[in-house]
Structures are given as structure tokens and as C-alpha cells.
């Protein structure tokens, strides 16, 4: 397979860009032009000529620009630029003529939009609006945040089928103002793209990317969806922010180009079995907000143009950048030299300006009349639960380099090491009496604009994680961000609820409103929207709420939290619960395969060193039992797996212990004293004896 060799060329830097705000205009002549919009409200269209940026036009907008899409008359080329700013949509021709200023009068600013001929689909955080020739035609209020919107190509599907990507892990397929059906996807979808840019063979295939880094294709059928394929995120890369389809490998099949929020740009091609194969990846340490492939700087050389959060627009081009004259000489590009020189003189000027400002600033610190003010800098932050290793990933990204980050938590949490992050961490001694269970500083290396941290919480303990972020920018300021750690922090939203499991039920009755009830649920569970949705895992109505779970510990935590909250609000609650004995063996059975696997793994890993020693001393290993030979063979794999999940066994032990304590708590017995005996049973693990222990001991 041919090696894909792409090298980076920087074009220019604009302000902070939001997701999906850079596009390539259709080809006219030999090269394509780039349209990019930033949150300072500036739309720019530029082309490249001999390595120099040539501006076509710039158009300012009153507010930050959240999206940039291309559209055109039905059947014609899509060469018109539409940007959304506030609740307004503006349209420009490729020459820069402003032909449309349309105020949608939406109650929320537009977050995502899509244009298809005369149709405009615009979404705020929760509302979806469809305009036909700028006339409001359809409307829907969504249960959770809308991340992206798309419409299947009408010339192929014969009708307008919009698809919304919603935060609650579903794609909502609409028909006019009604919900046609929901498609559950494995993670919160963040972006949508027509498969193969046209929607596949029947024009109804949609590519989606999720915030936990998965990609998949769903075929939107007339009545029901079909999942075509799904690519898991084994390497734990960042979430998908943008996608494109383009045949950059020139093998006749469109390749998939992904931009992730950890700065990875990846190219996947499809093999004979239509399985995606990674062909190229580039890491640039800033979130990639949009990607599109095309021909921008040199005729004949295809490239992937990317925009980053901090506003860089760069290309990954197939053109060789270093032109070698021979084995020992490297040709110096005269264009680059002039560029460097002009940049240097610009820098000198700026430096002088900065020095005078610095002095002024120092004086202001002593003036009694001036008013203290701190400018707000933008932070692109994300706090998401990883299902695989039950931890939270906190990612912080700034426009400028980060100097240091201070983490403070008022509940016990663990900080896990992240391979990608090069910052030096230091834990400070802390006193729980001052409300500090964790105080840690991350001192970042020069030019780090993005930092990723991993945090592991403990179910049942809730509080707040406070993060103070100081950028490396004079005068130094700092911003505080708070992230709630919820009591049931390691739960995930699901839409398919298995009614056949033996379920424990917690019933609440009292004088509370639906909104209050919802706020309690929101307080205790992650991934619940701020507004009450129609249905939930727990069903509730005014004055009554029912929670069901097959895990007693969950019910126990909920009971504690809810009664505490209700007492705070002085609401009388009648709590009744129905504990099913058979739910305990059921939960244990769910844990059983994992526990058994982990115990076995730990045992195998322990044996590796000894076996290796034998291998060194003995020429012939056939006397070993096949089991041991297998261990030796898989040694590297086993060790890698063991290293990946260091505390897994401890966590499983913890879960079982909690389950045990909670079971008897509902019976009104305190069994903390029995825990050592339980641990002993666990050490000589056998499923039946464990179940036995749960049933008999008290």
C-alpha cells in the first residue's frame, strides 16, 4: 500500500474558530479558495498564490460566527457562503457580495445550520427551525442539546428529511415538525456528514462522529434505521469535531478524513471488505474544528485544509516541501525568507508597543481612580465520562499558551496519568478540614495550548472540581471553572432499558413539583439535560417519582441524596422501596465475568517473570503445560492489558463491598465489620461461594 506522505504548511491565523466554520469554495480555475469565519465575527475568503495569502474579501459580523456552510440554487454549484451570527444568517457570494441578511427571530442564537437549495435548517441549543425561502415552515423543541443538523439530499430522497445530532446519544430523524424516529448511537454525536458526501447509494446514509471518538454510518430508512458500520475508539483518541470524504489516496475510493478535538487529523481508506484502515495521522496539539480536502496552494497537489480552535488555518499537502538540490544542499525558499523577515520586523514593532503598554499598566496599579477589570478569555473545555475505564476526561484549550492549572476538589478523586500530556504535575498536601481533598498543580511546557487530564471519581461522593486556569500572557490573569461531580457519577444515559432484569424500586411521594423532581435527578445523574425531558430511566410526575435499578448501591445512593436534598428544601418525602433479593445474584452475575477475567489476568501477569526466567535457562520448553506456554506466548499482550487498567480489580472489589453494605443497610443492619471476611471470600474467588456469602452472612 502506498505511503501517504503529507506535510504541514501554515496559511494564516484568525481568531478562535468554532466547529465547522471553514470551507473550501468549489474549484474555479486551478485552485480552490478558503472561506473561514471566527468568533471575533470576521468572515474571510482567501486564496493562495505562490505561497502568499491573497485576500478575496473580509466581511465583519456583529457577533461571533458559529457556523459557515456553503449553499447554492438547487442543482447548481454550491458556491454561496452562509454564516450564522447570533440569530442572524448572512449570505455572501464568492466575490464578497452580501446578498442575504436574514434575521430568524429564533429565541436562541444559532449553533448549527444547514443549507440545501432554498431550504435553511437552523438550530439553537434546543430548538430546530426550518425555513423555506426565509419563511418559517417547521419547528421542533428537542429534549437535549442539538450538536449538528443535516438534511438528506432531496433530489435523491424526494422529500426533506432533516437529521439532528443530539447530546443524549441519539440522532433524531424528522418529518416536517414531527419526530419520525430516534436512532441510538454509541456516544453523544457531535457532527454529521453525508456519507461519501452524497449520502451513499440511496442518498440516505449519514456519517456521525461522537464526542468519545467513535465514527459510524447509519442508513436512514423510510421506517427504521440500519447501522452500516461503526468504528470504535480503541486508542482513546479525542472526540470527533469534523469529517470529510475525499479520495486523497487516489485509489478510486473516497477516504474518510477526521478531525479530532485532541488535535489529530486522520485519514482512513477502505479496504476490499470496506473496513476502514488508518493511512495517515497528523497531530497538531490544538482542536481541529474543520477539515476539508481540495486543491488550494499548488495546482495538481491535493491537500487537507484544517482549521484549529486557536485559529490556525493550515494545509497538509502532498507536495514535497523541502526541495533538495543534491545530497548536501537544501534550497532556501526565497518566499519563506521574505516572509520571515517581514514577520521579524512586525515583531519588533509589536514588542515596542507592548513595552509602553506594560509601563502604563504598571502605573495603573497604583492609581486610585482606575477601575479594576479583567478581560475574559475563552476556554474550550470538555468534561466527559469514558465508558471503557470509568473515568472522566477533562480537556482544556485556550487560544494562548497555558502557564499553569490548579485543580481543587472537595471530594476524594484520583488523578490518572495521561500519556499525551507533558505538563509536570505536583500534588500539594491538603487538609480536608478546609474542604480540600485534592490540590494539584499542572505546570505546562512552553506553547501548550491544550491540556488533557483524567479523573476518577467515587460513586456516592459528590462535590465540585474547581479548576483555575492561568494562561501565559502578561498581565497574568486566571479563570475559574467548576465541574460538578455527581453522586451517581459513573452512570451513563441509556435509551433501551431492559425490563426483564430483577429491579429494585425506590418510590417517592410528597409535595414536590415536576421541576423540583427533575432538578434532583439532574443533580444526581450525569448526562441529564437542564430542562425536563419527556421520559427517563426514572419515571416521575408531580408528587411521585419512581427510580428503578438492578443495583442496590445505586438505589441506596439515590435514597441518601434525595432525602438530604428534600430536607434542605423542607419538603416532606415518603420514601418506599422494594428490594428484590434476586437482584443481588443478578448484579453479582453481571460482575462475575469481569471479576473472573481480571483475577485470571492478574494471576497470569504474576507468572510471566518466572516463566521468562525458565525460558532463558531451558532450551526446550515443551515440558511446560500448554497453559503456561500460552501465557509465555501472550506475555506482552497480557502485560500491556494489565498496565492499561491498573486499578480495575480494586474497583470491582469496591463495587462488591458497596453492594454488600448497601444490601444490609436496607435491612437496617450495619455489616461494616464483616467486610474483611468478604474480602477474604473475594481473594479465593468463586461465584457460588460469593453469592452464598451475600445470602447467609449478616
Amino acid at each position: 500500500m502506498m505511503q501517504l506522505d503529507l506535510s504541514r504548511v501554515d496559511y494564516l491565523q484568525v481568531g478562535i474558530t468554532s466547529q465547522g466554520s471553514m470551507r473550501l469554495l468549489p474549484i474555479s480555475g486551478k485552485l480552490q479558495k478558503v472561506a473561514v469565519a471566527d468568533t471575533d465575527g470576521m468572515l474571510q475568503v482567501f486564496g493562495m498564490k505562490k505561497g502568499e495569502v491573497q485576500n478575496v474579501f473580509k466581511a465583519p459580523a456583529p457577533q461571533k460566527i458559529t457556523r459557515l456552510v456553503l449553499g447554492g440554487a438547487a442543482g447548481a454549484q454550491k458556491d454561496r457562503i452562509f454564516v450564522s451570527t447570533g440569530s442572524e444568517v448572512r449570505g455572501y457570494t464568492k466575490k464578497g457580495k452580501n446578498f442575504l441578511n436574514f434575521n430568524t427571530n429564533m429565541s436562541e442564537p444559532i449553533q448549527s445550520m444547514f443549507v440545501e437549495g432554498p431550504e435553511l435548517f437552523a438550530c439553537g441549543n434546543f430548538v430546530y427551525n426550518h425555513y423555506h425561502d426565509c419563511k418559517d415552515t417547521h419547528y421542533m423543541l428537542c429534549g437535549d442539546r442539538i450538536n449538528d443538523v443535516l438534511c438528506l439530499p432531496p433530489e435523491r430522497t424526494q422529500e426533506l428529511i432533516p437529521v439532528l445530532a443530539c447530546q443524549d446519544r441519539v440522532l433524531r430523524v424528522l418529518q416536517e415538525s414531527e419526530l419520525l424516529y430516534e436512532v441510538e448511537v454509541p456516544g453523544p454525536p457531535t457532527c454529521l456528514q453525508l456519507s461519501e458526501n452524497t449520502g451513499g447509494e440511496e442518498g440516505n446514509e449519514v456519517l456521525y462522529g461522537t464526542s468519545d471518538g467513535r465514527v459510524g454510518v447509519v442508513q436512514i430508512g423510510k421506517l427504521a434505521p440500519t447501522h452500516r458500520w461503526e468504528m470504535p475508539n480503541e486508542k482513546r483518541s479525542g472526540g470527533i469535531l469534523c469529517m470529510d470524504n475525499f479520495d486523497i489516496t487516489s485509489d478510486g475510493v473516497l477516504d474518510l478524513i477526521l478531525g479530532r478535538d485532541d488535535g489529530q487529523v486522520e485519514v482512513y481508506s477502505f479496504d476490499e471488505a470496506d473496513e476502514p484502515v488508518l493511512r495517515f495521522s497528523h497531530s497538531c496539539s490544538e482542536s481541529i474544528t474543520s477539515v476539508q480536502a481540495g486543491i488550494v496552494s499548488t495546482p495538481g497537489y491535493e491537500e487537507i485544509v484544517c482549521s484549529t480552535y486557536a485559529g490556525w488555518v493550515f494545509g497538509l499537502t502532498s507536495e514535497q516541501q523541502t526541495k533538495e538540490m543534491g545530497p548536501s544542499e537544501v534550497k532556501v525558499d526565497p518566499m519563506a525568507v521574505t516572509k520571515i523577515n517581514s514577520l521579524k520586523s512586525e515583531l519588533d514593532n509589536l514588542q515596542q508597543k507592548v513595552s509602553t503598554e506594560r509601563e502604563k499598566y504598571q502605573q495603573s496599579a497604583y492609581s486610585k481612580t482606575a477601575v479594576s477589570a479583567i478581560p475574559l478569555f475563552n476556554i474550550n473545555d470538555k468534561f466527559v465520562l469514558n465508558r471503557e475505564d470509568a473515568s472522566y476526561t477533562l480537556s482544556l484549550e485556550l487560544q494562548m499558551p497555558i502557564d499553569n492549572v490548579l485543580l481543587q476538589s472537595d471530594v476524594p478523586v484520583d488523578l490518572l496519568d495521561v500519556e499525551k500530556n507533558s505538563a509536570v504535575v505536583s500534588f500539594s498536601a491538603c487538609n480536608p478540614e478546609d474542604g480540600n481533598y485534592l490540590l494539584a498543580t499542572y505546570r505546562c511546557q512552553a506553547n501548550t495550548t491544550r491540556l488533557e487530564l483524567k479523573i476518577r471519581s467515587i460513586e456516592g461522593q459528590h462535590g465540585t472540581l474547581q479548576v483555575y486556569i492561568t494562561p501565559r500572557l502578561q498581565p497574568k490573569t486566571c479563570q475559574l471553572r467548576c465541574y460538578p461531580i455527581k453522586p451517581l457519577s459513573l452512570h451513563q444515559r441509556t435509551h433501551a432499558f431492559d425490563e426483564d432484569r430483577p429491579l429494585n424500586t425506590l418510590k417517592l411521594k410528597g409535595q414536590f413539583s415536576l421541576a423540583e423532581m427533575h432538578s434532583w435527578v439532574c443533580f444526581s445523574l450525569p448526562e441529564v439535560p437542564e430542562r425536563p425531558p419527556a421520559g427517563d430511566v426514572a419515571s416521575f410526575q408531580k408528587g411521585e417519582g419512581i427510580f428503578r435499578s438492578d443495583n442496590i448501591s445505586t438505589i441506596s445512593i439515590l435514597k441518601d441524596i434525595l432525602s438530604k436534598e428534600a430536607t434542605n428544601k423542607k419538603i416532606r418525602l415518603d420514601i418506599t422501596y422494594d428490594i428484590k433479593e434476586e437482584s443481588i445474584p443478578h448484579t453479582l452475575a453481571l460482575i462475575h465475568p469481569r471479576l473472573e477475567y481480571q483475577l485470571l489476568l492478574a494471576k497470569k501477569v504474576q507468572l510471566i517473570d518466572g516463566l521468562k526466567e525458565l525460558q532463558v535457562n531451558e532450551n526446550d520448553l515443551t515440558f511446560l503445560s500448554p497453559e503456561y506456554q500460552q501465557i509465555l506466548e501472550d506475555a506482552d499482550k497480557l502485560q500491556a492489558e494489565f498496565k492499561r487498567q491498573p486499578c480495575h480489580l480494586e474497583r470491582l472489589y469496591g463495587m462488591i463491598t458497596d453492594l454488600y453494605i448497601d444490601k444490609y443497610k436496607f435491612k437496617g443492619q450495619n455489616v461494616r465489620g464483616k467486610v474483611p471476611t468478604l474480602l477474604e471470600v473475594l481473594d479465593n474467588y468463586d461465584f457460588n461461594s460469593l453469592v452464598q456469602f451475600f445470602e447467609t452472612s449478616a
Binding site: Q13, L343, S364, S367, S426, S428, D434, R443, L473, L480
Partner: protein, 703 residues
């Protein structure tokens, strides 16, 4: 782009920091690594034809160019070098927790085998100072021993703590090597033979040292710092969250200057410019790096280029040739112009942002005040140095971050008061564990209550060296029993100047006549009295010998004293030394007894095995079972005996460490050649078991 010129797999685990290369037959280089379970692996791809392993060496079936030496003890350190005068052959020196052995690989013979009761944490082979023959220098528990080719001890000195790393460098450019020693007390010491030439204090245990060009050398610390010194000036250092396992000086970009090559615990390798620390090349192993060496491992005809050879813990070996001149220092396949443009644009962007920041930013009328003072503590709080921070208006301090090295567990300390206790003032207790001057880099987050944005005030305060001592003004404190006296050719005013600089005082002490100042240690080691008369008679009274040494060394530096002879009177310390020496004798006796027992037992075992096996061959199963049962019991006894031996050995080690430390402390009470004199005289006294003269040396500084 620089790529490895060769790579191979040893298929053995390699212990970190035990990698060396040597020409054991005088011609062909062999890679030598310590592996798990007490073996040394020798990979000699070029001597395949004549390799005849015999005796202690066992040959591997599948990899014929690998020989394994059984050491039967955990291999702690490995070094190679020409130990035999006039011979081209390299000698392999292996250190374990208790022994040092030198081995002639080519002839498969031991050269010497010596007990090293202090352990052998680090070994280096080479010429030191004007000592005639090459020495194998072994660093252990506070002591450094040098052995010549016969195993005779030709060099001995002590250092402050466990030795972690050793290197020979021509420190002062006189054509002779000086010994550089890194130890667990964070100090890098440079020995010109016995005499300490320089002492640099770092912020963590020094895990590795490497020679670079001329008087430069690289160092690595346990907290992930690497850096380069030229003599006693540090050029640069960087800190990573990973640990540097091995460092090496090698000219990778062929510019005539050696770079610092670092192998990291996460498998990264990078080459940094010796001047700036800028990365010029990097590569990745899948496992941690175990060691980096250089040698002509390809043995190409007509080429004498030495490769840089990197070994990872899972036995992967990669060799790199120096870059061909055409690459012009560009080893990383980068586009220089594009990089420059990017960097300049980045800087431009940062300046623009800063300008914009000034437009909107103002911290009107807020200033931050800090004071350092000594807090003697009370019932609820132990004594500490107090950093008092306050704002000048109604703003509150949300949090304070103090970055300082060597005085906190990590590199920073955070104070984050609970939201209800927020105010414009904050007291931060600081307890420096050692008497070293420290820069406190303070970052205070100042804002209004409930706001989510804060101004960051940054300032740096220096904590003086002796900050953990509070001044006593009222008379009547009991005087310490121990003291050091000396005569200085200085006016008492100069001493006062030094006191004002080095102690944390509310106001400067002044005086015209005799100096008499008393302090109380906050660490609980009692009072400290410093007296000086007009005639230059200086007395330092303290029961803490370490403190007295610190004061004398700091004072000597301040007054530029080259040599200083003092009289020390430390009755308590001498008493402890007496006790320890008695104990050492006891432990030695127990050890001998145990060794004799073990020898008896092993004879017994031999005969029992023979008897039991005889019984088996005869088909007498009952006797056989009985025999093996007895053997089992004996075996258990042996194991018990071994545990006792181990404990005994541990005790012995800690005692010997204490003895070494007392000698070191006694040395530190003197300066210059008197210091060397004390250390050497003490060593001789201990060797000759002459304890009474030992006490005299500690007291007077002379034999």
C-alpha cells in the same frame, strides 16, 4: 531524518542503568547488560568464531553470540574499562549489593572479588587525578572506594549520603580526571582525588551523570530533571514528568560538539544541544530505556565511527550513526522555514493578545505585600517559617501557589482556603527540611468574593539559608554542650553581616564589639550560640554536628576562606560513635558465626542428598523419605539462618552508614585541606581499628 543504522533484539530483559560496552578481547566491542535474576548478558556479535564459553558462562542455544554470566545476586551496577595497565583489554566490573567483582571476559577468569559492605550503587573505571594505575571506583553507602587491578584499595573517601552516580571528568582542565559524585542528599560533589573542589546543590537525588566535552557534564535527577553543567555553572535544565534513566554525551549532528542524549522511562530518546537544551532529535522505544552507550558496533572495514547505542528494558537495541554533514543539523525531518514562520507567527499572536489584554485589563490600586518571619509555633501548630501575604484593599486572596524546589513534596505548594474563610490576608506555613537558600515563586490569585476571574500576582522571595532558627533575646537559655572553636582573621562586623544575610531576622543585628547571638532551632535540635571576640576567636555552640558543619561551610564561602582548622567538641556524638563501633564489632562477630554455620550446613546437605539418593536407587523408599524429610528441615533452618543473616547485614549497613556520616560531618567542620586530612586520617584509624585516635582526629582535626 535520522534513522537507526541497525536494530536487534536481545530477547532478554535488561535492568535499567546496567548497560555498558567494552572491548574485552581488546578489539571487538561487546554490549554488556545486567538482566533479571542476577545475570550479566554479554552480546558479542563479532567474536562469534572464537567464542568458547566455559566455566561460569553458559551459552544460549538460539542466540550464539550471547553469553550469560551467573552472578547469583541482584546486579546493581556494571562498568567496563581498561583496568590493567598496558593492556588493550577492557575489564568488566560488576557491583552487587554486597560485592564488587572484576572479571576478565576474554580469559573467563576473575581478576578480583571484593566485599563491599557499603554496597556498589555506581561504578566507574578510569584514571583519577595523579593516581598511577587506573582504578575502578565504587560508590556505596556514603563511601567511595577505588580498587586497582589487583583489587587493592588505592582510594577512599566519604560523601554526605548514598552515592547514586559517579563520573570522571576533567573538571578544571588540567589534563587529569576529577571524580564527580551525585548522592541522595541532592548534592553533586567534585573530588580532586581526596579533596572536594566544588559542591553544587540540586533539588533531588542525582540518578545519573555523564561526561561531555571538556569540562562539561550532564546530570539527571530522580524527579525528571536533566541538565548540563560546565564546571560549577549550570547551562540549562529541563524538567519532565517522566524520569531520565540514562544520559550520554554524543555528537549526533556532527557539528563537533557533543549533545546530551537522554533515555526516558517512557521509552523516549532525545538529543539536546549542550548549550541551550533545545531538542535536535528524538525517537521512541515501546518500553523504558535501560541504557545508552557508544561504540563501533558495526565494525565496518575502514570506518572507525562509533555508533550511539540505545538499549530498552525489553532488550531492544538500536544504533545510530552520527548524521551525515548534508543534513546540516536538521535531524528531525522538519521544514526549518515553515517552523520559523510558525514560531514567529505564534509570537506575534501572543504579543497581539497581550496588547489586547492591556486594553481591557486593570488592577487598580491593588498591591500585594509579603513578609517572611519565624513562627515558633504553639500547641496546635509545629514551629515553621511563616509567609504572610496581604492585599492593600478589599480584594480577597482566592488561592496561593508557591513553586519552590526541594522544600515541598512536589515542586509546588497550594493554599486554597474554604470559601467561608476568604480574606485579604493569608498565612502560609513553610517548613524547609534542609538548610539551603530557596527561591519561593509565589503566584497569588486575587479577586473579589464569588468572582470566577482573578488577577495573578507573581513575585519571588528568597528564603535565607538558615531560616528555621529563631533569635533568642532573653538570656538564660541552657548552653549547648558541644561546640566548635576556631580563629578567624576577620572583624566581628563581617560575621554580623553574614548572620544578617543568612538568618531570618525581623531587623538586622548591629554591634561594635564582641558578637554573642543565640538562636533556637525550630527543628528541635536545641539552641545555637555564635560568639566571636575582637581577637577573632569564633565559637559555634550547638549539639547538632550537621548544623555546625553547614554554618562553617557557608561562612567559609562568605569569607572566602581556603583552609580552616577548627577544634570540635561533640561529647554526645562521640558517645554515639563509641556505641556504634561496639555494635559494628558485634555484628561482625555474628556474621562470622553465621557464615561458619552455613558452611557446616551445606556439608551436611551434601551428604544427606547423597544418602537419600542412594536409598532411592536401592529402592528403600522409607529411608529415602526420611532422608528428604530431614533435608527439608535442614533447608528450613538454612532459610531461617539466611533471614537472620539478612537482618544482621541490614543492621551492619546502617551502622556503617552512620560511621561514614559522622566522619563526613567531622570533615565538614573543617575547610579545604584540613577537611581532606580529617577524612583520610579517620579512614586510616578505622582500618587499623584504632578507635581512640579516631576520637582525637574528630576533636582536633589532626591525627
Amino acid at each position: 531524518m535520522l534513522v537507526p543504522i541497525f536494530s536487534l533484539k536481545l530477547n532478554h530483559k535488561v535492568s535499567p542503568r546496567t548497560v555498558a560496552i567494552g572491548r574485552f578481547d581488546g578489539v571487538h566491542p561487546s554490549l554488556t547488560c545486567g538482566t533479571t535474576a542476577g545475570k550479566v548478558l554479554i552480546h558479542s556479535p563479532h567474536v562469534r568464531a572464537q567464542a568458547q564459553p566455559a566455566g561460569g558462562a553458559t551459552s544460549m542455544g538460539d542466540l550464539s553470540d550471547i553469553n550469560l554470566l551467573n552472578i547469583n545476586q541482584q546486579v546493581v551496577s556494571i562498568a567496563t574499562g581498561r583496568l590493567t595497565d598496558g593492556s588493550e583489554k577492557d575489564t568488566l566490573v560488576v557491583g552487587t549489593a554486597t560485592n564488587v567483582m572484576a572479571y576478565d571476559v576474554d580469559n573467563n577468569t576473575d581478576i578480583f572479588y571484593r566485599d563491599a559492605p557499603d554496597g556498589a550503587n555506581a561504578i566507574v573505571v578510569g584514571r583519577l587525578g595523579s593516581i598511577e594505575s587506573p582504578v575502578a571506583i565504587v560508590g556505596g553507602n556514603c563511601s567511595i572506594q577505588g580498587f586497582d587491578q589487583k583489587g587493592e584499595e588505592t582510594y577512599w573517601t566519604v560523601t554526605g549520603d548514598n552515592v547514586c552516580s559517579l563520573e570522571l571528568v576533567d573538571f578544571n582542565g588540567n589534563g587529569q580526571n576529577e571524580l564527580i559524585v551525585g548522592s541522595e542528599d541532592f548534592d553533586i560533589r567534585v573530588f580532586k582525588e581526596d579533596e572536594i573542589m566544588a559542591e553544587m546543590t540540586e533539588t533531588e537525588a542525582i540518578t545519573a551523570l555523564c561526561r561531555m566535552q571538556d569540562s562539561r557534564f550532564g546530570y539527571a535527577l530522580a524527579n525528571g530533571t536533566v541538565g548540563v553543567y560546565d564546571r560549577s555553572t549550570r547551562y540549562w535544565r529541563i524538567k519532565s514528568k517522566n524520569q531520565a534513566i540514562s544520559i550520554h554525551g554524543y555528537d549526533l549532528d556532527s557539528d563537533g560538539v557533543e549533545e546530551l542524549i537522554t533515555g526516558w522511562s517512557n521509552g523516549k530518546i532525545d538529543a539536546r544541544s549542550d548549550r541551550t537544551g533545545e531538542v535536535i532529535f528524538k525517537d521512541n522505544f515501546s518500553q523504558a530505556v535501560a541504557g545508552i552507550v557508544q561504540g563501533d558496533y558495526r565494525m565496518d572495514a575502514g570506518s572507525t565511527v562509533e555508533q550511539l547505542i540505545c538499549v530498552s528494558v525489553d532488550g531492544e537495541v538500536r544504533g545510530y550513526n552520527p548524521a551525515p554533514p548534508g543534513l546540516a543539523g536538521n535531524l528531525m525531518d522538519t521544514n526549518l522555514e515553515q517552523d520559523t514562520i510558525r514560531e514567529l507567527s505564534q509570537r506575534k499572536q501572543n504579543l497581539m493578545l497581550e496588547l489586547k489584554n492591556y486594553e481591557e485589563n486593570a488592577k487598580a490600586n491593588t498591591q500585594l505585600q509579603t513578609t517572611l518571619s519565624v513562627n515558633p509555633g504553639d500547641n496546635s501548630k509545629p514551629p515553621h517559617v511563616e509567609l504572610y501575604i496581604s492585599t492593600t484593599n478589599d480584594t480577597v486572596i482566592r488561592a496561593v501557589l508557591i513553586f519552590a524546589e526541594g522544600i515541598f513534596d512536589g515542586e509546588s505548594h497550594v493554599v486554597h482556603p474554604s470559601p467561608s474563610a476568604l480574606s485579604g490576608t493569608l498565612r502560609v506555613p513553610v517548613v524547609p527540611p534542609k538548610d539551603v537558600p530557596v527561591d519561593l515563586h509565589i503566584k497569588a490569585l486575587i479577586g473579589h468574593k464569588g468572582s470566577t476571574q482573578f488577577h495573578v500576582f507573581e513575585l519571588t522571595r528568597q528564603l535565607p539559608r538558615f531560616s528555621m532558627y529563631s533569635l533568642i533575646t532573653e538570656p538564660g537559655i541552657p548552653e549547648p554542650r558541644s561546640s566548635v572553636t576556631m580563629t578567624l582573621n576577620e572583624r566581628p562586623q563581617r560575621l554580623l553581616m553574614w548572620i544578617n544575610q543568612s538568618f531570618l531576622l525581623n531587623e538586622d543585628i548591629t554591634g561594635e564589639l564582641d558578637v554573642d547571638v543565640s538562636f533556637l532551632s525550630l527543628r528541635g535540635s536545641g539552641p545555637l550560640v555564635i560568639r566571636m571576640t575582637q581577637t577573632g576567636q569564633l565559637t559555634i555552640m550547638t549539639d547538632d554536628m550537621d548544623l555546625a558543619g553547614d554554618i562553617i561551610q557557608a561562612l567559609a564561602e562568605f569569607l572566602n576562606l581556603e583552609d580552616l582548622l577548627t577544634t570540635a567538641d561533640f561529647p554526645v556524638e562521640i558517645e554515639t560513635l563509641k556505641q556504634i563501633l561496639i555494635k559494628v564489632d558485634e555484628y561482625h562477630r555474628v556474621r562470622q558465626k553465621l557464615t561458619a554455620e552455613m558452611a557446616d550446613h551445606s556439608n551436611l546437605i551434601r551428604s544427606m542428598v547423597v544418602r537419600a539418593e542412594d536409598a532411592r536407587l536401592m529402592g528403600d523408599m522409607r529411608s529415602m523419605r526420611k532422608g528428604y524429610m530431614e533435608l527439608f528441615d535442614l533447608n528450613r533452618d538454612l532459610i531461617n539462618g539466611y533471614t537472620i543473616r539478612c537482618n544482621n547485614h541490614q543492621e551492619l549497613l546502617s551502622c556503617l552508614k552512620q560511621v561514614n556520616q559522622i566522619i563526613q560531618r567531622a570533615g565538614r567542620l573543617r575547610v579545604g585541606r584540613y577537611k581532606t586530612q580529617v577524612v583520610n586520617a579517620c579512614r586510616t584509624a578505622i582500618k587499623n581499628n584504632n578507635t581512640s585516635s579516631l576520637y582525637k582526629i574528630i576533636h582536633t582535626g589532626m591525627a
